[in-house]
Symmetry: D2
Subunit: 417 residues, 4 copies
Amino acid sequence: MAAALGDPVRHALEAVLDAVRDRTDGAVADYIPELAKVEPEQLGAALASTHGVVHEAGDCDAEFTIQSVSKPFVFALAVDALGLDEVRRHVDLEPSGEPFNAISLDEASGRPRNPMINAGAIVMTSLMPGDTADEKFAVVLAGIERFAGRDLPVNEEVYSSEASTGDRNRALAYLTRSAGTLGAAVEVATLAYFRQCSISVNARDLAIMAATFATGGVNPLTRERVISEDAARWTTAVMTSCGMYDESGDWMVRVGLPAKSGVGGGIAAVQPGQFGIGTFSPRLDARGNSVRGVATLELLSERHGLHMLQHHGAPLSPIASLSRVEAGDADGGSDGDTVVALRGEILFSEAEEILTRLAPLVGDRGCLVLDFTAVTRVAAGARTIFSALPDTMGRLADGRSRVAVHDPDQVLGAAER
Amino acid sequence: MAAALGDPVRHALEAVLDAVRDRTDGAVADYIPELAKVEPEQLGAALASTHGVVHEAGDCDAEFTIQSVSKPFVFALAVDALGLDEVRRHVDLEPSGEPFNAISLDEASGRPRNPMINAGAIVMTSLMPGDTADEKFAVVLAGIERFAGRDLPVNEEVYSSEASTGDRNRALAYLTRSAGTLGAAVEVATLAYFRQCSISVNARDLAIMAATFATGGVNPLTRERVISEDAARWTTAVMTSCGMYDESGDWMVRVGLPAKSGVGGGIAAVQPGQFGIGTFSPRLDARGNSVRGVATLELLSERHGLHMLQHHGAPLSPIASLSRVEAGDADGGSDGDTVVALRGEILFSEAEEILTRLAPLVGDRGCLVLDFTAVTRVAAGARTIFSALPDTMGRLADGRSRVAVHDPDQVLGAAER
Amino acid sequence: MAAALGDPVRHALEAVLDAVRDRTDGAVADYIPELAKVEPEQLGAALASTHGVVHEAGDCDAEFTIQSVSKPFVFALAVDALGLDEVRRHVDLEPSGEPFNAISLDEASGRPRNPMINAGAIVMTSLMPGDTADEKFAVVLAGIERFAGRDLPVNEEVYSSEASTGDRNRALAYLTRSAGTLGAAVEVATLAYFRQCSISVNARDLAIMAATFATGGVNPLTRERVISEDAARWTTAVMTSCGMYDESGDWMVRVGLPAKSGVGGGIAAVQPGQFGIGTFSPRLDARGNSVRGVATLELLSERHGLHMLQHHGAPLSPIASLSRVEAGDADGGSDGDTVVALRGEILFSEAEEILTRLAPLVGDRGCLVLDFTAVTRVAAGARTIFSALPDTMGRLADGRSRVAVHDPDQVLGAAER
Amino acid sequence: MAAALGDPVRHALEAVLDAVRDRTDGAVADYIPELAKVEPEQLGAALASTHGVVHEAGDCDAEFTIQSVSKPFVFALAVDALGLDEVRRHVDLEPSGEPFNAISLDEASGRPRNPMINAGAIVMTSLMPGDTADEKFAVVLAGIERFAGRDLPVNEEVYSSEASTGDRNRALAYLTRSAGTLGAAVEVATLAYFRQCSISVNARDLAIMAATFATGGVNPLTRERVISEDAARWTTAVMTSCGMYDESGDWMVRVGLPAKSGVGGGIAAVQPGQFGIGTFSPRLDARGNSVRGVATLELLSERHGLHMLQHHGAPLSPIASLSRVEAGDADGGSDGDTVVALRGEILFSEAEEILTRLAPLVGDRGCLVLDFTAVTRVAAGARTIFSALPDTMGRLADGRSRVAVHDPDQVLGAAER
């Protein structure tokens, strides 16, 4: 019985995997022999929620190389290390409408079109602290391990192959070097980048890494802050417009989950504020995206309404009730106070509604008590306003503030949770 | 005193307008004389919330032609009229990385790159029902009026000028016609399109129109459903990746509000689920976007945390409390029931948390009562699960369901609000 | 016996046609039904020499529509009507590396890339004198008839089809119109252009038309000057770099005959100063060039060394002999004159050799007689120098010029032959 | 007096240099410090005729690095070393319409667009025999020295700078390497290429080198055959369509001399069959072409009619006269022979005219004597026909051939002169 309730998310994942398992189209990446050796039938998906639970289905422990899935995470690290302005001096943030390995370099500025294509990703890696490829890679690895919440090995065979066949990436690096946007010598940048691509992960790791974007930068399992909230937002925004290469627009329409795929067969997808998903299945379509990984995310989004822009119906009013409280109450109101029971999430729109509706009630006759007991979250931008109300609204004749706040869970005080 | 509370949103808008008013760069569009006649100093911004309040600042009644701001609204109408699949046979949905009047036509398929560039927008208009330009335009106008909630005039002088100088748009129409993607004769499509661009609106209209996307398709003032929820989501997704032409990626990073601008000086921006904003200021930058309109949205987003991907901190747990209720209660539990007080918005992630945590509590000893009193919204995908629980969980020895639901506001029942 | 000598050129043409006749690849143009009706097996080739003889082989009387083969001829007419500078304000002269119907419009200048692609050709036609399509076409037709030396019909069925299906060409016209480079209303320009493409010719016509470029602008049969020498040279230069679309470079390497093809199955090729060739065979390759027409020209060039840049071995010295003539001669030289027998073609290089070698011989002892009897041609640039020598070299003691010229065929005097 | 005749070509060159000397626009290349050190006022031009005389004006001994002027010469060497087919497997021969350092690589084939842009030139150098950069460069240098007819030094400072700043060229090399078209390791190819670009030449050298193309591959001073006639023709053809980058089409219209420029300030231009020109002036225009070098060639071409496609008027008929010779003559004709005095250059068109006109005269009554005394050149393709005539025409009653040839200068016999 309890089993039916037990892990509905795992059941949902399993059902979707079952639905896509028959897809046998696509082909395992074979530009290096090591990638071609993978067992093509593997299939796994994991979902990590922002409150720290991971649901797994299928081959979630199977390891594969992270490849391009590393790009948004290293971009986020670069943004925190250098600041967005400095990063934007080295890379643009526009969709290119072109494949992953397109040259896509602005001839005038020398900036790659965005950090999700190879040229831009190599530049990001080149900007990592350190003088050598080893030093830069150590920073990258440490960062990605914090995203994943565990130590991650490097697949040395894949790395050797990448390094020995990566002439096109070296070309991209030389182009950016020539244009003044590469932050290191070509061999330093490319070797660090090849090593970055060779980090070994599993679907569970990708889910947790993606969930770290969903929480605004905090690993939901280790509770460690990995990147700043700004870096998480900016990176998710870049994934939104550039994450799926030349089908990013279509992906946003159909699936609506900012995502990044890699030729190792992995995909990481983010539902901001909600969860991260990691999928793994080695066969790739013509664009280099995992066939069954894409199908899994499409079906999950469709079945469970996970589109980032999904409308969930209008919420109830944030004002649950208004009630008069007689003088002599526990709250000590004289002349009768008004208690306003608020509820739910108070973002910009809800704050606007509350303030608009309560304005006429603020007066001389009694205190207006805003009760946040049933409020689950107050947007950062709205917190200040509510906290300041008791001070700015002035005093009643009996000296009490015209507005009082009752906030037992401190949803107003939390700078960050 | 009350004034201070009175309209904080209007104050916020005014403060931002004051901050950008000094920007005198850019130039009024002058490719047709009628556009050049506008008073360049005009500046206005309006915000319409999803619960139907419009806040205005500056020149919100000043009229101007809608121009390209019409594109997403007509795309949405086309999607509802023909279905997404049919629409996608005529237009792609990918960012082009190119200016608004770029040719951007896939040579193989003949499909314009997306419906936010002129070629794609003309194709959308051509797909409207009707045989003549007048008939097609009548459908467009009626649709846009439902978005705006009022009758809208056409600026006939602008229309005449557009029609007499629109050779490039005719060229784009002939290209799509030649490729088989235009749904009407060139003169029919272009005249309807020129007329569409000449519809006269004000900033308040654009705010309400954008807010209609924010509600998932219902005009928040008239409460009329204008388009389907799907069309609203898909259109917002297209605005996300293609709305600001070749700076869409950067816009999504910096501002994070899906938006569309027009050379008439207007911009419409959406915060899904929250509000729509309309701005008006005639001077344009090199890309054809209103200089002060862009600055207004940037500053609003930055000051008030309006980025669509803004992280607002983790919400409180959706489980407010668990309490044992003795037998003989009003609820009539024998052997003690457990009341689970839920709260806030229950989307995928919250549903997952609730079900995961409650699974061990379902048993034979008493009923598990889920109290939705403080819940403000349940995502469509989660509603079914919760509603079905009493039936699927089986019965206690006393014949009562193992799980009961207390939902006084019917947040579970609402198919749509 | 005489037959063996009879028409070696015809024999050469026939032999080449026999060699390519088996080629059955390619397909007849079918974008309009009228073109698809043609008998696909037709094959003909004609060569018109600059001295006015036409050699024919195969189906040289079979008529077909001229299509794009008209482009260089109308370009030449435009150059003479407006001057090269004015023409270049409307069209660039650079190879585009793109197919015939590519848009290839410089976005900044609005100029089509060259007059051999459709956009550029339509602009050329639009610049013809006249206000209506009929008037402009009348000028085009009269010009092309002078190139061909006979009245030419228009295939009205093809014209009607072109006019009713020519949306892409209308698009190109609107683009150039919008950019300010089209010289007429779109319908005027395109209808005249469609009619131009529908002129009916045969392979013999194309040979004579091409030979008119080879003579520097004079129809070798009618002896009428059709265009200026400048226009002939400039047009041949444009054909050299742009005539065969995106294989122009390869064509110049392999075949070396400036040429232009049309989807009607015709090709016109020029060997400047030597001859023109016209071929006809309806099946086209993927680029829209006649499969067997291309093969015919390739084989002719290869077998008979017709490459424009073919090296023919160094010529003999232009100084055939130097001989002393005793006083009392018919030439009346005293003290012994020197007769310099010149020969062959005297272009820049030969003039340079003659003047360099003779300088030491000019002196006080006798007259230097330049005998041009065996000279077949003197380049325009060299004529002036030689003609002026008797005046500039001063006089001998006996009053005679130090240099005398003997030019019985007046190769020096001929301003143009 | 004699001075006036003395060197009219030098005078012509000097007059043109005087006319362009005032041009002070443009700027010396400064992407490496060594190039920026050059004296910007230097100006020189040399013309080398195919019969081995070099005319010089201005700074013809000033040395500069050859840079991109080396490209056609190395292409010619590659064609002779590998054959055209093999070379074309590594590079296309199409104009790119793009700047010299454009990437212009066919994404499908990996072939650079043509051998005159950097990517294509590096591939050509990579194909030279040898395993190391030194070995490959030795072949290049030896070849270029044979073109120039003297030993050439390398500017080691320029080489060092090129090697240390050539990241863009390394990028191009890696791209071709990645695509499988580069014939050596990247460092081998690029170091040999940088060294090739650093060869030091003067304007006189470039004139002789270009004249070696004009003669069909034989250095006109040393008389050494440097490359095959095919290689000379093919290379000149490539220069025709691709030599001046994105203004090749315009150059062919206005100047009509296949040419190649370099950022060192040199230009080499060819008039096939006639001469080569070398110019030197360091200041470059935006495209990287020497400002005064371009102006010099434009003015020379215009003033002296040097356009490759210049029409020189129709030549006289190649049949100078027909005369009956009585029996008992020195030529021993019985029954009266007919002597046909031919003259001038006999290319395809003239051969055609001769054979056509003489056919009726071949008969039984007497011998037809073709007198080639005044003929200066017979095209290779025509030689065979004329030589074979005595054998193929049969015999007269007295045993003599019906056709006899009188060819004292052996213009028919010369396989190559």
